[in-house]
């Protein structure tokens, strides 16, 4: 655990583990007893609950840019989030656009990303500056793709442009480009 404690010795880490169901029954019941005795931890747990609900709401509202898994995408679909997916092959450009009904845009970047210490994902204009850089992105084990989810409302604000998604990683102390993926962003479409 993290070592953060209330004045009665209760662990803040345990409160989070309790809330997300990561404690066994005995430990969970001990935490519950403590919460009913300790106002400080009750307030802290209320914070955890509020943040948890707010994060879930932000994801459900397609307001979060993140590396995701298929499990997350499946749940988003079940929640009614409209997802448009692009799967550019390495070294190619494919056309893409944002349509009025889109909530979330997912890029499926395929490649062999295993064996690298730190993966970095850079989004840059084809002939221009970097638009974003994400260092140490997580890789889902057993898969050969990275799924990046971006809010459609964010992408609607971008002008038409060619962009590159560049995945690189560290191996043997040196940075290697693993794959470059091109998108011909056509801007926001209307029907």
């Amino acid at each position: 655990m993290t070592g953060e404690q209330c004045s009665r010795g209760g662990s803040y880490g345990d409160l989070l583990d309790y809330w997300v169901g990561d404690l066994d029954q005995d430990s969970a019941e001990r935490v519950e007893v403590h919460i009913f005795e300790c106002a400080e931890c009750a307030n802290r747990l209320a914070d955890v609950a509020t943040m948890a609900a707010a994060v879930a709401e932000a994801v459900r509202g397609a307001r979060v840019q993140s590396i995701v898994s298929d499990a997350v995408l499946n749940k988003l679909s079940r929640d009614g989030v409209r997802i448009r997916t692009y799967a550019p092959e390495p070294g190619t450009f494919i056309p893409c656009a944002i349509w009025p009904e889109d909530d979330l845009v997912v890029s499926r970047l395929r490649g062999d990303f295993s064996g690298y210490d730190e993966l970095t994902l850079v989004l840059k204009a084809d002939d221009g500056p970097e638009l974003s850089r994400n260092v140490d992105i997580p890789l889902i084990s057993g898969t050969r793709e990275i799924l990046t989810a971006t809010s459609a409302s964010h992408l609607r604000r971008l002008p038409s442009m060619r962009v590159r998604l560049i995945v690189s990683g560290r191996r043997g102390g040196t940075e290697h480009v693993i794959g470059e993926y091109g998108l011909e962003h056509g801007g926001a479409m209307s029907r």
Partner: protein, 177 residues
């Protein structure tokens, strides 16, 4: 002590003490309800029923150890939640059968500034963001996330706690609430 004042007073006369007891413990009962019943309306039902029982028992002098009133309220919450879970499961089942689309209003959640929250979430390191998305949206446990990312479950729990602390600090502007 609040509970002993309520127990010692003429039944129903200790208004202020009863209100204070409610103010202190209702949020905890509600959290217990949200955790175990997973439904805001059911959690609010729990709060009401638990306090009806608690105050009636206190007024009648039926709470043996008034010094440990938190323990009594927790025990009552556990008992009432078991009954409510059955009631809400039956209700959900009936709603599915009859496609009842009636909307019930639950009390407003303690919500945060949505734009600020989203901005803070998007400013976290990518690994933290994904951890929080998997934990709070996909409702994955540490062991599931550990196998997804080839990490130890203990490392996931520590990383998750740090990620949430960073997010909280950002949302609260670096101060504690």
């Amino acid at each position: 002590m609040l509970a002993s004042s309520i127990a010692a007073a003429v039944p129903g006369a200790a208004h202020e003490e009863e209100a204070e007891l409610y103010r202190r413990f209702a949020p905890r009962v509600r959290l217990y309800g949200l955790k175990h019943l997973r439904n805001a309306a059911a959690a609010q039902d729990l709060v009401q029923q638990v306090f009806v029982v608690t105050l009636e028992r206190l007024r009648r002098g039926e709470v043996r150890n008034v010094e440990a009133i938190g323990s009594f309220i927790l025990g009552t919450s556990r008992t009432v939640a078991t009954d409510l879970r059955r009631t809400h499961e039956r209700r959900d089942h009936l709603i599915q059968i009859f496609a009842d689309r009636a909307v019930s209003m639950a009390p407003a959640e303690d919500s945060l500034d949505r734009d600020r929250l989203a901005g803070c979430l998007n400013s976290l390191p990518p690994r933290d963001r994904t951890l929080l998305v998997l934990t709070f949206y996909a409702e994955k446990k540490a062991s599931d996330i550990a196998s997804t990312f080839e990490m130890a479950a203990g490392a996931v729990r520590v990383a998750r706690h740090r990620a949430l602390t960073r997010l909280r600090d950002c949302v609260m502007g670096g101060s504690s609430r």
